[in-house]
Each structure stands twice: as C-alpha cells, then as structure tokens.
C-alpha cells in the first residue's frame, strides 16, 4: 500500500487529442449530472407558468416572490423548520463526536474483558437495517413520553448508535503511534488524561469527518422525524418541504422549488468548505454517501 502511494503514476501528461476527447466526455457527463440542480436553481426564480415551458437556464423573468411565498410555507414559516433542523443536527454532531471518540479510544487502546466479542458485535450492528429496530424503539420512546420531542432523534447519537463512526475512529487511532501514549503513561497520565490530551487532538481529522457526515445525514434524514415528530412546530426542513408539497396545488411549483433549493444551501456550504475531507473520508473508509 505504502509503496504504491510513492509510485504515483498519475502526473498530468501533455495535451493530446485523446486527452481532449476524454475531457469532452467528462465535461458533457458533468453537465448532465449537474443539469437537474441548475434547472432547480433557475426554476426557483421563474414564474410558475414558465417553469415547464421555458427550457433555458437563464429565466426570461425573475420572480423572487417564490422565495417569499415559499418561506411563509404551508402552515408555518420555514424559519421554524430550519431552526428545528439546526438544533437537531448540531446536537447530533456533538453526540456522535463525543460518544464515538470515547468508545473508539477504548477499542483501539485499552485492554478489557470480552474485547474481541464486543468489537465483533459493534461491527455487526453496522449492518442491521434501521427498520429492524424502529418499532421497538418507537414503543420505548413512546413509553418514555419522548414522542414529539427532539429526544428520540438526538439521544441515540450520544449513545454512539451510529457505529460506523466508531469504526472510522478506531482505524484512525490505530495509525497514531503508541509511543505517545506510553510517554504520557510514564509521565503519570491515566487513560482519561491520555484520551483527552493525546488522542483527541490528534484525532481531529477523523472528528471533523464524523461531524460533517453526522450533520449532513441528520439534516437530510426524513424517516426518523416523520415517525417521531407529530406537531408542525417541531417539524424539520424535509418535513416542511413534504408539507409544502402536499398542501399546495400544482400551480405553486415556484415556491416549492425555491424552498427545495434553499434547503440544500447548508449542504452546499458544508460541501464546499469540507470537500477534501468528505472525499477522503469516503475513500478511506467507504462510508456510504
């Protein structure tokens, strides 16, 4: 693995006809891929009657009113939905980063009874489909009186239920030299001290990857809020969109598409800021995406 990294075969070659043909293919492909998103952006500022008749990406007439109408939303303004989504997503980030790093530290560095069995169990839980645990979880949260609160969406993150983040961090910690831990032990540091002052600072790249993916997946999640949040003032952005879609007639595509685009803005921002980290995170661990 390491030798292949040094024998880097991919250096830009001089321009050739063949290279140009490949670029032409890729650019066409990229345009096809991105076209629906560009169409979404342009349609969001078109009057509803032009959305389906005007093919050009540059709108003949701009109608920013779509955003105002959309924001007022179905029953509640989108500010409510955005605020709810941000609260839930940020708490999920904090939960995953804290809980998964603690557990990963134990698996990567400490010795304890049943370590192998527990690690295998942890890996197995990654494969269990969400739907298999959904109904009893619902019954549990229902009996605790947590339905229609953010707790069922947030508390599981503090209990490290997204085990693939643990796996990601275990892999990363294994790459941190053990000598650092040993030096700290000699200086009299215990496991808590080592975790906090040695491992966590060096784990930052993995923590950032975890934070970014936690944010995106929680923000995008539709099924869990659909199941647990029942009153509109608790709805998240995806639920708000679904509500807007079902409550409006076909004539108001403009506001619906405007809010759809707006709901993607936080994801675009995260993508542009953390592009490298996201792509490396996917490449290194094969996280879904």
């Amino acid at each position: 693995m390491t030798e292949a990294a040094t024998a880097q075969p991919n250096r830009p070659k001089p321009v050739s006809w063949r290279g140009l043909a490949v670029h032409a293919c890729l650019i066409t492909g990229a345009l096809v891929m991105i076209y629906p998103l560009l169409w979404l952006a342009s349609s969001s500022v078109k009057p509803s009657n032009l959305i389906f008749s005007d093919l050009s990406l540059w709108p003949a007439r701009f109608r920013l009113q779509n955003y105002i109408d959309g924001w007022r939303g179905a029953a509640l303004p989108f500010s409510t939905f955005f605020l709810n989504s941000f609260i839930i997503s940020c708490l999920a980030v904090v939960g995953n980063v804290m809980a998964c790093s603690m557990v990963a530290y134990a698996f990567a560095r400490l010795n304890f009874a049943f370590k192998k069995t527990l690690f295998a169990l942890m890996m197995l839980t990654i494969m269990i489909p969400l739907h298999a645990t959904l109904i009893p979880q619902y019954a549990l949260f229902y009996s605790l009186g947590w339905v229609n609160t953010f707790l069922p969406l947030v508390v599981p993150k503090f209990l490290a239920v997204d085990a693939f983040f643990i796996f990601l961090m275990v892999q990363f910690i294994r790459g941190i030299p053990r000598e650092l831990d040993e030096a700290a032990t000699v200086d009299g540091a215990g496991p808590i001290r080592i975790y906090w002052s040695v491992i966590l600072p060096l784990l930052t790249p993995a923590l950032v990857t975890t934070a970014v993916f936690s944010f995106i997946w929680t923000y995008e999640d539709f099924l869990s809020p659909l199941v647990y949040l029942t009153s509109m003032d608790k709805y998240t952005v995806p639920q708000g969109l679904s509500l807007l879609m079902s409550s409006k007639g076909a004539s108001s595509w403009g506001p619906l598409l405007a809010m759809s685009l707006l709901s993607l803005v936080p994801l675009f921002l995260v993508f542009f800021i953390f592009q490298r980290r996201l792509i490396e995170g996917i490449a290194a661990t094969g996280l879904k995406g």
């Binding site: 830009p12 603690m102 400490l110 969400l130 645990t133 792509i279 995406g289």
Partner: protein, 294 residues
C-alpha cells in the same frame, strides 16, 4: 492488563454499551417477539404465533408487490450504479488535469441524494412536462408520463439511484490508485492491449473494492425509502408500482398500526439483507483476489 484498566475501559464504553443494549440489541429481540403478536401500540401485544409470517407468505398480495418492486430496484440500480462508478473512475484515473473538479462534480449528487429536496426536484424533472420530456420532444419523441405510469415510475427511481454513483466512484478511484503502474508496464511489454489490461489487471486487482462497494450498495438499496416516499406521494403509487418494502413496512406500522405485522416484515428484511450479505461473502472466495504478492 490490570483491573484498573477494565474499569476505565468500561467507563469509556458505557455510552455505546447502553445504546447497544437499549437501542439495538434489545429492540431487535423485541422486534422478533412482536413479530409473533398482534400489536397496535395502544394495547398489550396478543400472542398469535406465526400468523403474521403466514399472512405475509400466503395472503398479502401487496407484500409480494413490495418484494417485487424492491428486488427489481436492487437488481437494476446496484449493477448500473457500480458500472457508472467504475467507468468514470477509470476515465478520471488517467492523470488528467482538473481531477479535483471532476471528482467533486460527480460526487456532489450522492451527497445530496438522500434529501427530500432532491426527490422533489427529480419528480419535476420526470413529470409529464418536465425537462426530460422537453428534451425528448426536440428529437420528436413524445415522452410518457414517467411518474404516473406504472410502466416507468420505478425506472425514474432507478435513474435517481444511478445519478448518485459518486460515492462508490470515489472509493473505486482510491482503489485504482493503489494498482502499481509497473504491472501495466510489464503487460504492455508483453503486448497486452487496453481491453486485455482491463480484464486481466484492473478488474482482478480491484475485486476487493468491487466486493466492498457491492455489499454496501446492496445493503443500502434494500433500505431505500425517502425518494420513493416523496416521488410516489407517500403511497408507493401509481398502483403500487413503487411500493418499496420499507414504504409498505412504514405504512403497516405507522398508518395502519399493524406493529406486529410490520415487525415480522422487519425481521424478513433482516433475513434478506443478511442472506444477501452472507451470499456475497461466500461467493467472494471464488472471485475476490487479495494480492498476497505485494
């Protein structure tokens, strides 16, 4: 190590232990118990033995429809998605300028893909007067009403899945970079053409990555929910043409409050995904090569 370390370790493990027992292991066992009952959430579960499973197997035609839809979706979307992912990854692995740009553009859809906004966008793209049909019209083709036609609705969801090939592509790209160039050089000296090199070097060297991507995509595809829910208006329509397994499970559990029946469905889903994963791992012996020579 000493007992002291055990105490510290279980302190660190405690969030996960609590979560695993209360939110994963406990629920999955409870789910099995509930699958043998009639349960509506509001009164205590009534033991009915294997009736839910019998009903599923012999009496519920919508259940069969949901199986058919889901399997069609998995069998179509996973190979096509992986083929696109590998094809584009190979094009990108030629030492081109602008690799970072292309990689980001192709990856972006798979990052946004799970969102409701993208499903809404897709619904418009494939609507009767949407852009797909407008483009077809330029070529003189009068396109069908994709979303509301029982013949095509599922294919629009397959198309949406393929559109999100970016994440397996990134993994393929990382794998391709690990193949040492000297193997290709040696093959070239022996007179191997591009096709021969692809079949005899790229594919065998990449089998562990193909395998990994395959398993992950299969597991994900069986659980597809959001796009089907949004595009079909939450009902799996038209005429159950997009009634995904998870959609039917959701409907049984949270619309009809047939929680026992839905639990049985969930257990069968665990069985299906487990079998598919196990079968992949068993078959891997015959086609996945882990390079020992390096």
């Amino acid at each position: 190590m000493d007992a002291n370390n055990n105490v510290a370790a279980f302190l660190f493990l405690s969030p996960w232990l609590i979560g695993m027992i209360c939110l994963t292991l406990g629920p999955i066992l409870a789910s099995f118990y509930l699958s043998l009952t009639s349960y509506d959430m509001f009164s205590a579960p009534q033991w009915i033995g294997f009736d839910n499973y019998i009903k599923m197997a012999f009496e519920d035609s919508r259940y069969y429809q949901s199986l058919k839809v889901t399997f069609s979706y998995v069998f179509l979307s996973v190979p096509l998605k992986l083929a696109f992912a590998l094809g584009i990854a190979m094009l990108l692995n030629r030492g081109l300028r602008g690799l970072g740009f292309y990689r980001s553009v192709f990856y972006l859809p798979s990052l946004l893909g799970g969102s409701v906004a993208v499903a809404i966008m897709w619904r418009q793209v494939f609507s009767y007067d949407g852009i797909i049909n407008q483009v077809l019209l330029k070529f003189g083709i009068d396109g069908p009403s994709w979303i509301t036609s029982t013949d095509y609705a599922l294919y629009t969801l397959v198309a949406l899945a393929i559109w999100q090939f970016g994440s397996p592509m990134v993994i393929f790209l990382a794998g391709l970079k690990q193949i040492p160039q000297d193997i290709y050089d040696a093959a070239e000296v022996d007179g191997a053409g591009p096709i021969r090199k692809f079949v005899s070097i790229t594919i065998p060297m990449l089998t562990p990555i193909i395998f990994f991507n395959f398993v992950m995509q299969i597991i994900g595809a069986f659980q597809a929910f959001t796009p089907a829910y949004i595009i079909s208006g939450g009902k799996g329509g038209p005429a159950d043409a997009t009634l995904f397994y998870t959609l039917y499970l959701y409907e049984q559990a949270f619309t009809n409050f047939q929680m026992g029946y839905a639990s049985a469905m969930a257990w069968v889903l665990v069985g299906i995904i487990g079998t598919a994963t196990a079968a992949s791992f068993l078959s891997a012996r015959y086609w996945v090569h882990y390079g020992d020579e390096r």
